[in-house]
């Protein structure tokens, strides 16, 4: 077993353990932390496959930014675990079907040799920066899907703002025009009441 294989198995073991803990941990904060560990390890495995741009991107975007906000929200939630587990058996069939589908898809991808799909030659010659390669492809061949994706993100961003924005702050300036026309009885009410005694 050469060193690279050893590193792969080491990272894979951590990844599987972390992913398992994501769905089994009782404390939601622990689950999120294991998800972060899973992303980080996944980045390591991608770096091992010489996809250094993707490896760094997953750490930068998912582990470094998305999960911070996620953790932020989860830490402030007061989650009652028993109530979440209530519908477990009702949802199990649907979840099992989805899980089977995912296993099937992964099998199709990983077993491409068996299904005689010509495998892409993944090895890149040394000295080719795959950041540059991805950039060139993204802005030439895939420019329309890329722009479309950014448009979808923009729509999402605007939607989030529209949903949470409550209009500009109410102005606290006084209007002299209204002040002039104010009468005493609008502001003050004189009540007649008997004296109270204990």
């Amino acid at each position: 077993m050469d060193f690279q294989t050893f590193v792969f198995f080491f990272l894979a073991a951590i990844l599987i353990f972390a992913s398992l803990r994501v769905i089994t941990a009782r404390n939601p904060v622990h689950a999120v932390l294991h998800l972060i560990l899973a992303f980080f390890t996944c980045g390591g495995i991608w770096a091992l496959l010489q996809a250094e741009f993707l490896a760094i991107a997953i750490i930068l975007v998912y582990a470094g930014a998305v999960m911070v906000l996620f953790l932020f929200v989860v830490m402030m939630l007061d989650i009652n675990i028993d109530r979440i587990r209530q519908g477990f058996w009702n949802y199990l069939p649907l979840g099992a079907v989805l899980g089977l589908l995912m296993v099937l898809e992964m099998g199709l991808v990983l077993g491409s040799k068996y299904f005689q799909v010509p495998a892409a030659d993944a090895l890149v010659p040394a000295g080719v920066s795959n950041t540059k390669e991805i950039g060139a492809l993204m802005f030439s061949e895939y420019v329309y899907p890329f722009e479309l994706a950014s448009l979808v993100l923009l729509v999402g961003m605007i939607a989030a703002i529209v949903l949470t924005y409550r209009g500009p702050k109410k102005s606290k300036n006084t209007n002299p025009n209204q002040q002039v026309f104010v009468k005493a009885k609008d502001r003050i009410r004189v009540l007649q009441m008997p004296v109270e005694k204990d």
């Binding site: 904060v29 932390l33 972060i36 980080f40 980045g43 250094e52 741009f53 760094i56 991107a57 750490i59 930068l60 582990a63 470094g64 930014a65 911070v68 906000l69 953790l71 932020f72 830490m75 920066s129 950041t131």
Partner: protein
């Protein structure tokens, strides 16, 4: 050097590359830790003189042994774990704070050959690793089971995520003009240009053509470090000391070390991206690591100067500065640089 390699090969055999890398790591981390210790001394002295005080002057000549004494004191103190704390995370959090601060140094070039790992995407690596530093702070705040610590962690997380955006944009400008993600190439690119040919290298560095980005990077860097005037995360007048209020002894010291190691890291990055790294400012002096250290010291002095000068920002002002001032400036300057590079006036060929 070859003789050393041969001797090492003889003693350790196949394990020599690993041992040699470990040796290099020690050679980077040991001076870094010493630098951190004396940065605290320097900070107290500089701020002392700015406030017409003397600063530490009791331990050793001129108070020079003060940081060592402080470190020893912290080492010998007990680490108290609060009763309601989440113990595992409480102990892991300081480690999560200091690990990225040290790991980022792997790709920092000190001269064009003196670098631990000269990788192609080193700029991206730095951004990815430094973005992990926020977990130490968030988790310490959450695990402490204290309101003050939690408030500090919340503030700090929002602040670091916001300012990372502006910081990333200013670095995108740098990588556009250098046409590379490699820090060594970024510095070498700054050594070329019309002014450099006249022997006035310092006018060819990125700080001049990218002046707005230099300012944005420096200020966002200060915010990212949670340094004054952006130290809302620890605002001692409102939330005691923020996220590390429950920590004592060496666990507290790790947060402290992480903060100062990050300060040195940001000063090194500013020097490399905008101030020409190890390049000499004028043509008749040789390039060398001395210049990098001098530039880093200058940037570090700026951080201390900021702390002594500016009052703390209010939280809404902080968010306004990050999102409504820096991000638009960055977006506009990104466009300006793009158009500039495509026009005949392009100076980065």
């Amino acid at each position: 050097m070859d003789a050393l390699m041969n001797v090492g090969q003889g003693i350790f055999g196949g394990a020599w590359p690993a041992v040699w890398t470990l040796l290099k790591i020690v050679l980077i981390v040991a001076p870094l830790m010493l630098g951190v210790a004396y940065l605290t001394y320097f900070e107290r002295k500089v701020i002392g003189y700015m406030q017409v005080r003397i600063g530490p002057n009791r331990v050793g000549p001129l108070g020079l042994i003060q940081p060592i004494a402080d470190g020893l004191k912290l080492l010998l103190k007990e680490i108290v774990v609060p009763s309601g704390a989440n113990k595992g995370i409480f102990i892991i959090a300081p480690m999560l704070a200091i690990a990225p601060a040290l790991a980022a140094w792997a790709v920092i070039p000190f001269t064009d050959s003196l670098v631990l790992a000269n990788i192609d995407a080193s700029l991206l690596y730095i951004m990815a690793i430094t973005s992990m530093g926020v977990y130490g702070i968030i988790l310490s705040g959450w695990a402490s089971n204290s309101k003050y610590a939690f408030l500090g962690a919340m503030r700090s997380a929002a602040q670091m995520v916001s300012y990372e955006v502006a910081m990333g944009f200013s670095l995108i400008c740098v990588l556009m003009v250098s046409n590379s993600l490699n820090l060594v190439d970024i510095v070498n690119g700054q050594g070329e240009g019309r002014f450099a040919e006249f022997g006035l290298g310092f006018l060819s560095w990125n700080w001049l053509p990218l002046l707005p980005m230099f300012v944005v990077y420096l200020i966002s860097g200060t915010a990212e470090l949670n340094r004054a005037p952006f130290d809302l995360a620890e605002g001692e007048s409102e939330i005691v000391a923020g996220f590390h209020v429950e920590y004592s002894g060496m666990a507290f010291a790790l947060f402290f070390l992480a903060e100062y190691a990050n300060m040195i890291l940001v000063s090194a990055l500013t020097s490399i991206m905008f101030l020409g790294g190890w390049l000499s400012p004028v043509g008749f002096l040789p390039d060398g690591i001395v210049w990098l250290l001098a530039k880093m010291s200058f940037v570090l002095f700026l951080f201390l100067w900021f702390r002594a000068t500016f009052p703390r920002f209010r939280y809404d002002q902080l968010m306004r500065l990050g999102w409504k001032v820096f991000v638009p400036i960055c977006l506009i300057w990104l466009l300006v640089v793009g158009v500039w590079m495509m026009s005949p006036l392009n100076i980065w060929k």
